[in-house]
Symmetry: C2
Subunit: 350 residues, 2 copies
């Protein structure tokens, strides 16, 4: 059985994942690690971004570490075979419905934020984004010709009680181990799915998590509050589309974009999917300039949430902090270390 | 015929609109002004937030100035008769499909932003949000019981070529009078409506606006870029839902939230709907604390875009700037002027 399946993917994905692999081999030499093609490179080799074999391997691994997918060379691929489609199919196929997207401000980097320092210092905010439902997956979806000329496009947002409940449960459980506060973001004032979202979260809270503080917030106001004063938040749970946008805004605020990992989790006992939140960055791919810390911290989350080795996770985290404290900086952090040198710095700190 | 229909609405709406009215009477004594109930107060009086008479009056006025609608007391009203539903019906009934939402940083207030000063100083960014289509209006939309227990909610995002074209045309035209740059934001990588959006904007650009620079940007990346470096943008056109979220984030960044107006425009010759972007702020309603400048600046936009009096608009704008330069500040700006005193300050500056 594979413990850790690596899907390096496209662009800077392979470079950063290679450093995470070095770290994994150093801290857990007994781990069985496999690697497979996914994304644009899989499309080039097999005509599809996600083959059945790779999906099966992902489902039977204990954790999957993804690099990044996509790039301009696949923009013209058929829609259902573009790298992004492969990513949606991987998420759905692995049933990883809860996407943990931390917005963390690393002390050494507080000045890199576009926000004033006092607003982001110490920020530790977790967005739990629903990942396998909503408008990305609902049907019908189509573009049709209209009789009188012109066309019409339709996408469908669908959420069931069960889908909302399971992701909200993850958020409440997380909050218990943190500052005990959950914000639930939707547009219940204008969307039926928002209305159901609010009701289901309210009921679940009363039934299973009365000890956690719950606040409802409209998604547009959430966007405002995230840029106004992000430290008011602890955990925010929201749907796939709002989560995509809000978590990207929150992450950008930290000034640590190249350093942020993410986890996508399913039911207990099922493998998690881990990936840096940065993209494939085609502009700097292959040049050894990418920061591997987001990938290394994604590995850290995998040890913590899927591989059952929290002490190993702690060791990795401490090593990253130490490397930063020692002044290790890739270009995105204003330094001149290469991807490999940053990997070295973490290995030395281990 | 009414030139200007005032819909003061709920919460702080009446207070701020009263100051805009004083300004209108001062700069254009010949203007015929009417006032009507709209929002929660209309629901209380007539059982609906928007009566047929008021919609007819709005459609036949030359411009409509709205205050704000909503408040906790109407949260329990039937969904189709809540203040927000009235607002959607007013927008649809007036056919104001292009919502101009400026994010402007007033020099006197640059330090009030949560962003570092050098990132927002001089910011003048306009989001053009599609306002009468998309997921707010698409059908089917419903919540249904599922056979096995639980429920299922559905909302539908629909866009036609014609809807996309007319709002994009407004954005391109605006850009010509500004810095000649349009960003079009969607999620064409995962949504069919995003794909159609991108195609229609691309075609329109090639056909009618080859002189304007057009950039396509994914909505999640737009959220990031807005908080990273908002001054890279001139005009951004996007759909109803993305526009709601992105424009709120952008507005908050300016530090001038209590000062930002908005316009919703339809076809040439049709009345526009003007409103402050702030909400009804029930917590400070009735206390004379609200900043009336957003309402006064919405009036300014009405003179410019619907009433055909650009010089009057210029006069109002100059008076607001002068009042601020003279140190006039309501509480949200760190001062202690009341709503009426801020109105006085603008009148004196006139
Ligand atoms: C690549 C894309 C499909 C994806 C998404 O929108 O989910 C990305 O933006 C993300 O946030 O992981
Ligand atoms: C009140 C609400 C329906 C409205 C919207 O979402 O359109 C508001 O948020 C806005 O942005 O004007």
């Amino acid at each position: 059985m594979t413990d850790l399946l690596l899907l390096p993917g496209d662009g800077i994905g392979p470079e950063v994942t290679a450093q995470a692999r070095r770290v994994a081999e150093a801290v857990a030499p007994d781990l069985s690690i496999a690697e497979a093609l996914f994304g644009g490179c899989s499309f080039d080799a097999h005509g599809t971004p996600l083959t059945d074999e790779v999906l099966a391997a992902a489902r039977s691994a204990r954790a999957v570490l993804m690099g990044a997918v996509g790039g301009p060379q696949w923009a013209g691929a058929p829609r259902d075979r573009r790298p992004e489609a492969g990513l949606l199919n991987l998420r759905a196929g692995m049933e990883v419905y809860a996407n943990l997207r931390p917005a963390l401000c690393f002390p050494a980097l507080a000045d890199a934020s576009s926000l004033k320092r006092h607003l982001v210092e110490g920020l530790d905010f977790m967005i739990v984004r629903e990942l396998t439902g909503g408008i990305y997956f609902g049907s019908p979806r189509f573009i049709e010709d209209l009789p009188g000329g012109g066309r019409r496009a339709v996408d469908t947002q669908v959420y069931t009680t069960a889908e909302i409940e399971r992701v909200a449960r993850v958020a409440f459980q997380l909050a218990r181990g943190r500052r005990n506060l959950v914000h639930s973001a939707e547009k219940s004032n204008v969307m039926d799915s928002g209305l159901l979202w609010r009701q289901v979260v309210t009921d679940l809270h009363a039934r299973e998590f009365p000890d956690v503080r719950l606040e409802h917030i409209l998604a547009d106001n959430a966007a405002m509050q995230i840029v106004r004063d992000p430290r008011q938040f602890d955990v925010m749970v929201t749907d796939n589309l709002f989560g995509d946008i809000l978590s990207d805004a929150a992450a950008q605020l930290t000034g640590s974009l190249g350093m942020l990992p993410s986890a996508a989790l399913g039911d207990a006992g099922r493998p998690g999917l881990y990936e840096p939140i940065h993209g494939s960055a085609p502009d700097i791919a292959g040049q050894g300039l990418a920061n591997p810390l987001a990938s290394i911290l994604s590995l850290e989350m995998a040890f913590r949430w899927s591989l059952g080795r929290p002490e190993t996770a702690d060791r990795i985290l401490a090593a990253v902090v130490r490397a930063l404290d020692n002044g290790a900086r890739t270009r995105d952090l204003g330094g001149d270390l290469t991807t490999v040198q940053m990997g070295d710095a973490v290995l030395v700190a281990l």
